[in-house]
């Protein structure tokens, strides 16, 4: 309720711009405004995306394991002089640790 009130107050202050035209900035580089009748925040509104945090973290996890495998590939090529893509064929590979420091 308080949020709704603030939203209405903010909209009143933003007058005379009746609609979002991109020129009323809260701060440098931050000029977004809700359109008339649309919420300032979507959380709890009928447009709440309700993102699952587990889904949102999948990309970061995926990059971490790819980078870890790459580190082993680089380490192995430096050590042996030949390249092996398949980390399971890399001598000493351990998916839970980084390759030994040089």
């Amino acid at each position: 309720m308080k949020r709704l009130f603030l939203t209405i107050a903010a909209m009143a202050l933003a007058a005379p711009a009746l609609a979002y035209d991109g020129t009323n900035c809260k701060a440098p580089g931050n000029c977004w405004e809700p359109k008339p009748d649309y919420p300032e925040r979507v959380e709890g509104s009928k447009y709440d995306p309700q993102h699952d945090p587990a889904e949102l973290s999948k990309q970061g996890e995926s990059l971490a394991v790819m980078d870890a495998r790459n580190a082993w590939r680089v380490w192995n090529m430096k050590k042996t002089g030949s390249f092996e893509y398949d980390v399971k064929k890399i001598d000493g590979y351990d998916e839970t640790t980084a390759p030994p420091a040089e």
């Binding site: 440098p28 580089g29 995306p49 993102h51």
Partner: protein, 632 residues
């Protein structure tokens, strides 16, 4: 010798290369930067996507010119053996032409003395599932070349749709290393061409239509070791900002905006991928590129400016740190993915001051010109007067003044928005003629209706959330779905169009200008055309086997100038034809707009090479003939 697998040994290939007398490039003792700059000065070579670091697609050669272009004929051709969209352009280094292909991204090396001979071929094995998470056909935009040093011989770099970056020996095609950059399981693919700066290879990202948070990565050319990675959204440490980021233009925004312009954790699936092109200024050690659209397309689900999607970046190559960024489309509502070509020039501004500039024709219908040393906005002109989402771009604030009538929002179907999501300009790599001080722009003329809808995010699934109908712009023929493209010569200082011409379909592949006063480009309906750079008059054209979505290139071999172009229709405009779709809203709305395309072209895939009178390596028909007892 044809090596079908990356494991194929290089020794015999190298021996054969020597036996056949191929030029073995002797690396000079300069840095890779300087070597590439030097090599690009030689008209024999085309060593990177936009020919040189200025990315002008411009050639000093005058052998082919306005007077004799009517005598231009095919000299030879090569089929890649695959269908689907053939974007980008081949590279030429010395006696070799390097050709890339769409999925499965086979790389070919051809001998320019005898192009009938495939010197090597490197064909990767990829998980076919990669195809299912490609938003807009299984295209690839090109290769990169590193000239080698005392330790390591020259290398060719390739990205693969399945997310790998690969280094191959340029002589033999043998794979040197492969690294994982993108994971198809989360919808992250690669279509961008790699780009070599110093001893690093840059790799972009794709997948904003699947909610992929964009990033650019630099790898060591020799070992594949990651040097740095910079994201488009999120905390400043991950954005990789320099201490003085945007200090010359603090009103562009500076610290903490990668999170503050988003609600909650939405930035984690916020798009901003870069799959376009790069340019580089060695004196500033800054490279330039654009970040793509925020995810999802449904604007109501992501309040805020959504920084730093849709931004022009100036990053220090050595460290990856951003010196400046300018957001062109705050809080995107139209999928104006800001990844388009960056063309560098040095020109006098309106005050008569010599400026180092960067010119960038964006999806949103505006051509931006910035001072590339500090990000100052010099000009921002509509590429066509029918652009309506924005009234103007204020040069002092840098803000686009939006017209609320043409915005998008939930529970509302917006109509007649121009440009459409395909933009008034897309992935085509254009050109700049430094003599005429004109940018040759391949333009789209497509508008749209747009209605968003709510949808959940599931990693690996599409995260678009909008239904589109696209059709020709006001200057085209909406009844007959034709008149979807334009080509124009643009002056970035005066903002004037020196000339403009309509095209039947979008000019999707880009342009190339030459000192011969010619502007070359390919069309979706299957022609390569040459126009007079001063007047825009059509001087010559040739009917290729299929439509074109790549940019033309030119090189000199044995004292003869050749013009080469890839054909093979596809990409976003071709998805209806390529995947046999009929629903006009399918293909993210492109099927309806390009429903007439199939009346003019079918799929293909190859390179066509032209010269005056078609003279070339086989003008002597005995060249390349089988002679008993000799290896061929």
């Amino acid at each position: 010798m044809i090596s079908n697998t990356p494991k194929a040994r290089g020794a015999s290939g190298l021996a054969m290369a020597v036996a056949l007398g191929f030029a073995v490039l002797t690396p000079a003792p300069a840095t890779a930067n300087e070597q590439l700059v030097e090599m690009a000065k030689d008209p024999a070579n085309w060593v990177m996507t936009g020919r040189d670091y200025n990315a002008q697609n411009y050639s000093e050669m005058t052998d082919i010119n306005k007077e004799n272009v009517r005598q231009l004929r095919p000299a030879w051709s090569f089929s890649t053996g695959v269908l689907h969209g053939h974007e980008g352009t081949p590279l030429v280094v010395g006696d070799r032409m390097f050709v890339h292909s769409p999925f499965p991204n086979t790389t070919f090396a051809l001998d320019l003395n005898e192009p009938g001979k495939i010197v090597w071929m490197n064909k990767p094995k990829q998980n076919p599932t990669a195809r299912t998470v490609a938003c807009c056909d299984v295209v690839n935009r090109g290769l990169a070349y590193w000239p080698g040093d005392g330790d390591v011989k020259p290398l060719i770099f390739r990205t693969q749709l399945d997310g790998h970056i690969v280094a191959m020996d340029a002589e033999t095609g043998e794979t040197r290393w492969i690294m994982e950059n993108s994971d198809i399981k989360v919808g992250s693919t690669l279509t961008i061409a790699p780009y070599v700066i110093k001893d690093m290879v840059l790799v972009g990202s794709s997948g904003a239509e699947l909610g992929v948070r964009g990033y650019v990565t630099a790898y060591d050319v020799k070992s594949g070791e990651m040097r740095w990675r910079a994201f488009a959204t999120g905390p400043d440490e991950e954005l990789l900002l320099a201490e003085d980021f945007n200090a010359p233009n603090p009103h562009y925004g500076q610290k903490n905006l990668g999170t503050e312009t988003w609600e909650g954790d939405a930035w984690k699936i916020g798009g901003g991928t870069n799959w376009g092109w790069y340019a580089y200024d060695p004196d500033e050690d800054l490279f330039y590129y654009g970040s793509g659209n925020p995810a999802p397309w449904n604007e109501t689900m992501r309040p805020g400016d959504n920084k730093w999607t849709m931004a022009i970046w100036g990053r220090e190559a050595t460290t990856g740190q951003a010196k400046f960024a300018y957001q062109k489309t705050p809080h995107d509502e139209w999928d104006y993915a800001g990844v388009n070509v960056m063309m560098l020039s040095e020109q006098e501004d309106k005050q008569g001051q010599m400026r180092k500039m960067l010119t960038h024709p964006d999806r949103n219908g505006i051509v931006y010109t910035l001072d590339r040393t500090n990000g100052d906005l010099i000009s921002a002109d509509k590429m066509d007067d029918t652009v309506n989402w924005v009234k103007e771009v204020q040069l002092d604030t840098g803000l686009p003044v939006r017209d609320p009538e043409f915005g998008t929002r939930m529970d509302h179907k917006a109509r007649d928005i121009c440009p459409s999501a395909m933009g008034y300009h897309n992935q085509g790599h254009d050109s700049y003629d430094p003599e005429r001080k004109l940018f040759m722009l391949g333009i789209n003329h497509i508008c749209m209706d747009w209605e968003p809808f709510m949808l959940p995010y599931r990693a690996g699934q599409f995260f678009v959330g909008a239904t589109l109908t696209m059709y020709p712009g006001p200057k085209g023929d909406r009844q007959n779905a034709l008149g979807l493209g334009q080509i124009k010569a643009y002056d970035a200082i005066t903002g004037e169009m020196k000339w403009d011409k309509m095209e039947r379909f979008a000019v999707w592949g880009g342009t190339m200008a030459t000192a011969g006063g010619l502007t070359f480009y390919g069309t979706l309906d299957g022609f390569i055309k040459a126009r007079d750079s001063d007047t825009g008059d059509l001087l010559w054209k040739f009917k290729l086997p299929s439509g074109v979505i790549g940019h033309p290139m030119t090189y000199k071999h044995d004292g003869r100038q050749y013009v080469a172009i890839m054909y093979g229709v596809g990409g976003w405009p071709g998805v209806g034809l390529v995947f046999d779709l009929a629903d006009p809203t399918a293909g993210l709305g492109s099927v309806g707009a390009f429903k007439r395309l199939q009346e003019y072209t079918q799929m293909g895939g190859g390179v066509m090479v032209f010269s005056i009178d078609g003279d070339g390596p086989y003008s002597d028909p005995m060249v390349g003939e089988y002679v008993s007892g000799e290896p061929t």
